[in-house]
Symmetry: C2
Subunit: 212 residues, 2 copies
DNA sequence: GTCTATAGAACGATAGAC
DNA sequence: GTCTATCGTTCTATAGAC
């Protein structure tokens, strides 16, 4: 791996674990196995390196999310699939959202993108903040589109607002990281996700009809 | 206000805005209007001051949350109250959760407690981490109890798990802060909360019955 | 209790040899 | 491209006068 490449990867790891303020050029160099001069030859400084790292991390998040949300069924259904069952029909909205929610994550490390929003130095620098904002915005839009499809298929109550539900889904994930880190266990993340899935569950024809 | 008092308050503000790593003793002293020697006379160092600040902030969060969740109706109902309407009956579970969710917040500053979970130095120090963990744990338990009451009153579908829903509620709030900060607007927080309230809404006898 | 002085280390970056 | 040397600043804390 080339030196700039190693520097970017080292920065990504440190940004994830320690944030921008907690990441020093020295630590980056050590982790990347590169010297001072080498780092400053390839990058103008800490902000430039951080930008490269953040852009790559946000691109990766988009790709990972899209893989779960894409709807090209990976074969392992949840058992609550909806639809007419034609050969290559895309998975239900619920299933695609569920696939996104339960995908494998390094829960205790937190979200490599969401974490950055708590860093004042990142939020203050437009070039660092923009990729974060755009990525979470894209994710909400992507989810809103899927909820909209679900609404059209009658999967969800018509009263739901796609953009709002999308925000709730992303917020539950981001907040799940917080709960997991606080408690030191991924269980809290999982609980939040299961609660959300229960609320979203298409199986609304519940034997226990609510509200008298 | 006494000097120790001012130091604690200054630390609380800085911890909220810049986190533990981003908060220097010097910055605390300047904000508190206290000198170096003064600070080290009253506190053994940055960790001790941070502990005092964190304990106070978590206590404050509990009190604020309890005020909304307490159920002693503040008079401004949401219009969806449930119950037999006896004189001093406590508000519905939905209303109490809604009151907690929509309470006034400095959304763009993030959660003064949840933010701390992203600070590796705080998570590594048991004396700093404990109050954060205990507070979020208390909040989840408190909410779970209210959901349980709602279940017993038939406000929610019986399939819901109180602890899971409680985690979802707290996660939505914590994640809402992330979305708001990323986008630079409280709107994303509000959207997530409205989505969650729509999913929790007791008005489940929806004209549009889902899932065919 | 509060002040100033001082300390060793780390921070973020630059200079210039190779 | 990579190295070592150096720089001015900030960090966190201690010492000791007042």
């Amino acid at each position: 791996m080339s030196t700039p490449e190693r520097l970017i990867e080292a920065t990504r790891e440190l940004l994830w674990d320690r944030g921008y303020v907690g990441t020093s050029p020295k630590a980056i160099q050590q982790r990347a196995g590169a010297g001072q001069g080498s780092m400053y030859h390839h990058f103008s400084g800490k902000p430039a390196l951080a930008r490269a790292a953040i852009v790559r991390t946000t691109e990766e998040l988009r790709a990972t999310a899209e893989a779960a949300l894409g709807g090209t069924d990976t074969g392992s259904g949840t058992g609550t699939e909806v639809g007419a069952g034609s050969g290559t029909a895309s998975a239900s909205a619920y299933d695609r959202i569920a696939a996104y929610l339960v995908r494998e994550r390094e829960v205790l490390r937190g979200c490599p993108v969401g974490r950055l929003t708590m860093d004042p130095d990142i939020m203050a620098d437009e070039t660092l903040r923009a990729p974060v904002d755009e990525t979470l915005d894209w994710l909400r839009g992507r989810l809103a589109g899927i909820v909209q499809e679900g609404l059209e298929r009658g999967e969800f109550p018509a009263a739901l607002d796609p953009a709002e539900i999308a925000s709730t889904v992303v917020a539950t994930v981001q907040g799940g990281y917080v709960l997991a880190r606080a408690s030191g266990s991924p269980a809290a993340f999982d609980a939040g996700v299961r609660g959300l899935l229960a609320l979203l569950a298409p199986a609304r024809d519940d034997p226990n009809s609510p509200r008298s």
